[in-house]
């Protein structure tokens, strides 16, 4: 699953540790999500969406979305 987390974080000049602090997760977790190595749980995805004031689907992109 791809996402725009790195772009959104950069727009706010936040480090991965700062974003992790806002979300209650580690810097490693932020890095893993940004690089697509880890897909966050639904509650964490909602927290991310709320933090950036965006709908989840504007942040996360499902590769199979076009197949529907």
């Amino acid at each position: 699953m791809q996402n725009k987390l790195r772009v959104l974080r950069a727009e706010r000049n936040w480090s991965q540790a700062e974003l992790g602090g806002h979300l209650g997760v580690s810097r490693q977790a932020v890095n893993a999500i940004e690089t697509g190595k880890y897909d966050p749980s639904l509650p964490l995805a909602f927290r991310i969406a709320r933090l950036f004031g965006l709908p989840i689907e504007e942040i996360f992109e499902d590769g199979d979305g076009d197949a529907a």
Binding site: W14, H22, V25, R27, Q28, A32, K37, P40
Partner: protein
């Protein structure tokens, strides 16, 4: 256009630092409990001779109580302080270790019954299980 309140950047840094500190404290406390158990057990052992045979029954019970409280309470606090990625890594490492234990012990037992190897040694099995868990956790931390 909807105005969204953004948190102050420093809040995130402070929260991250506090979270890291909580984790360090929990791990230090768990290691401290392990050190207490190990130190006193080893001290009793010197007078008693063979491994785990010179420890007074009272201390053996006290040590196991410390162990269960540490694992129970410490594990719960650790669970609260870690994030979902870390919990996933721990679960994965635990599953790997359990599989190695189940397969390893059963095989060793069968080989022993078949007269191929000496009787299974619980210390060896315990150490190998713990080592596999630590290695698997480290691997997941490096390659999430």
């Amino acid at each position: 256009m909807e105005t969204v309140m953004q948190p102050e950047p420093r809040d995130g840094l402070v929260a991250a630092k506090m979270r890291r500190r909580r984790l360090q404290l929990i791990i230090a406390a768990l290691m401290g409990a392990g050190a207490v158990i190990g130190f006193f057990s080893a001290m009793f052992e010197m007078d008693g001779g063979g491994f785990m045979e010179g420890i007074p029954a009272g201390w053996a019970i006290a040590a196991s109580v410390i162990l269960f409280v540490s694992i129970g309470y410490g594990g719960w606090r650790y669970h609260l302080a870690t994030d979902e990625l870390d919990r996933r890594d721990n679960q994965w490492a635990g599953a790997m270790a359990l599989n190695v234990y189940l397969g390893g012990y059963a095989s060793w037992y069968l080989w022993w019954r078949g007269g191929l190897v000496p009787e299974p040694q619980h210390e060896t099995i315990f150490v190998v299980t713990m080592a596999v868990m630590l290695l698997a956790y480290g691997y997941k931390k490096l390659r999430p």
